[in-house]
């Protein structure tokens, strides 16, 4: 049925014929229909990556195929969400090797975006933990890929935004945990310089990420809270926590009820929010042990929080700059603060090294910001793009809804290789999305 669909940013919205499948043979039948399509999971990328006139939803293709609880190897169909996986693996002492900031993504989508988490500097992105996966090509043929079997296709599919084929099955390694709790440390940094030093001091922590106030100017420019974490051992738990060390968090959730009118979000409300958020930590440093849920997925508690940004939606802007480009970080943050375009969710993290053809992460600083869609936003983001390029950085396609193709070309040195692999396995551009057309990854027709 043709209906309007959008991803998490609610921008853009397009009319799409969305169909689902439960069995392999039904997927084959859908793929072999004439009209071009893109596969779509839970719609938790932000922009237009999984949007097209025809979409194939993987959400009903969500079965667990095997789970070796001794070795920590998990195999499933691609439409299962991380949320579902956690409920099965956590009670048995395992965790996701890498998790993004929401557990409501499918494993297929996670791989197509090659997602990273707070532990990127230690564990890399999700593809580093994948043993193999099945890919159904535009021709209907199924190809198994691993780092050693069809390695070119493996690499082009991890982060390849679904353009090589439909990921149908994924097998990956889990991370052993003793408890489902996180030993957390939060440190306030008075400014950006201090934050960068703190990142370096605590680089041995498995998990690290910082919330940053991008409206503050002067000596508190870049004031922030660094959040660090380790999986807690049983000995580190409180008495109550110790009664069930592998406890699953309850699933109490709040639903954000309505689309907020867009005037609610302005420089003053964001400043007030930042003041409260920074001020809620009275002490310079807080140490405690919390469930994994508030540590990894603080926003999942509020269903439909994207409605905060109103009907027009928002754009998430995430880029990475090399480690030696601190000046670039300062310049971009200054530009944002001058423009008065504050963002509730400004998140800074340090990436470690990564081999990548089309995956987003590379060693350096990555900053993610949310901007409500307003009149001059797109022109402003084009300006930021220039700064990102000037400092040899690049943008994350899973967040992107608007970059120009030349920005992608400049940011990804292996883009031509990626395009040639897409061309080889998807020769007629049958698999294509609004994003791939916009970024000229598939030939426009």
């Amino acid at each position: 049925m043709i209906k309007p669909i959008a991803n998490w940013g609610n921008y853009p919205v397009i009319e799409s014929n969305e169909e689902s499948f439960v069995f392999d043979e039904q997927l084959d039948a859908l793929i072999l229909k004439e009209q071009p399509f893109i596969a779509r999971g839970n719609g938790r990328c932000y922009g237009d990556a999984s949007l097209a006139d025809r979409t194939i939803s993987t959400l009903k293709f969500n079965k667990i195929l095997s789970f070796d609880a001794a070795a920590g190897v998990f195999e499933c169909q691609s439409g299962i969400t991380l949320d579902q996986i956690l409920t099965v693996i956590v009670p048995q002492g395992w965790f996701l090797p890498v998790t993004p900031g929401t557990k409501f993504v499918t494993i297929g989508g996670a791989l197509a975006s090659d997602v990273h988490g707070k532990n990127h500097h230690v564990d890399g992105s999700i593809s580093n933990h994948v043993l193999d996966f099945d890919l159904v090509l535009a021709s209907g043929d199924v190809i198994t890929c691993s780092p050693s079997v069809n390695p070119d296709l493996f690499e082009a599919t991890c982060g390849g935004m679904g353009l090589t084929g439909v990921i149908s099955r994924v097998k990956f390694r889990l991370k052993k945990i003793e408890t489902s709790f996180i030993k957390q440390k939060q440190i306030k940094a008075a400014n950006l310089q201090e934050l960068i030093e703190l990142f370096d001091t605590y680089k041995d922590y498995t998990y690290s990420v910082a919330w940053i106030d991008c409206l503050k100017k002067g000596e508190h420019f870049g004031r922030s809270i660094l959040m660090l974490g380790e999986h807690a051992t049983v000995n580190e738990l409180g008495e109550n926590q110790r009664t069930n060390p592998l406890k699953l968090p309850g699933n109490k959730q709040i639903t954000f009820p309505i689309n907020m009118p867009s005037w609610v979000l302005n420089q003053f409300t964001v400043k007030a929010f930042n003041f409260l958020y920074y001020g809620k930590n009275f002490k310079k440093e807080i140490n405690n042990v919390v469930s994994y849920e508030p540590f990894f997925y603080p926003l999942d508690k509020v269903l439909h929080w994207n409605r905060l940004y109103g009907k027009k939606g928002f754009v998430q802007y995430q880029f990475v700059l090399p480690l030696d480009a601190k000046q670039g970080l300062i310049e971009i943050l200054t530009r944002i603060s001058d423009e008065g375009l504050g963002s509730f969710l400004a998140v800074l993290k340090v990436f470690g090294k990564q081999k990548s053809m089309i995956s987003f992460p590379k060693e350096g600083y990555t900053l993610a910001l949310d901007f409500p869609v307003r009149g001059n936003l797109l022109a402003f983001l084009d300006e930021l793009d220039e700064l990102v390029l000037k400092y040899k950085g690049r943008l994350y396609m899973s967040k992107d809804a608007r970059m120009k193709p030349e920005i992608l070309v400049a940011g990804y040195p292996e883009l031509e290789k990626f395009k040639s692999i897409v061309k080889k396995y998807n020769p007629d551009g049958k698999i294509r999305s609004a994003q791939s057309d916009r970024l000229l990854l598939t030939d426009t027709k």
Partner: protein
Amino acid sequence: METVLVLGATSDIGMAIAKKFAAAGYNIQLAARKPELLGPLKSDIDIRYKVDCTLHAFDAVKYDTHAAFFDALKPDVTITIFGTMYEEEDAFNDWSLAETMINTNYTGAVSILNIAAKYYIAQQKGAIIGISSVAGDRGRASKLIYGSSKAAFTAYLAGLRNKCFKDNVHVMTVKPGFVYTRMTENMPLPKPLTSTPEEVADIVYNGFAKKKNTIYVKWFWRYIMLIIKNIPEFQFKKMKL
């Protein structure tokens, strides 16, 4: 632990019901015309719920196979979900389609449930859950054959409940309204009136646990159908429904 036989396990509602009963600790027998499709559902149930789950071939219209089929399984609870729905206009013009709908939705269901009921009466315990439809509550043009096959099935379930009551056999009739399934994904359905397969499964399980006779999914369909049933025929026959 008790065992549940799910007849029609490849349907969206069948899968959801199987998972719901597995989550409640029942062992599961999954039956369908193509059981080879059910490997992933079986592994999923095995891993999530750690119950026994087995796969079985079952064809509703091969009546002569039903006795041996049931005898090999002897479940504590039998649930029929299977059914066929063709475009009514096609079925009106092609007897083979109409016949398949009637034979699957009614004759096949009666055949297997007679066998199950005899076994439960002999045991003096057991439960039968039949998934019928609100479409069986009143005949209308847009559900000519499908609706009448479900009306017959609903009447059969009511009779069976009456027959088995004294023998401690619970018979429950389930009448879903609109449900989001692969079969209906190309139809525009009114959101407030439509259930997900998981909601159907929850309501079926709760109704079963409370030993209900007839349940509508969702509950307000009982009143929608009450209104539809009470429209006078001289008026109803002129309506486009």
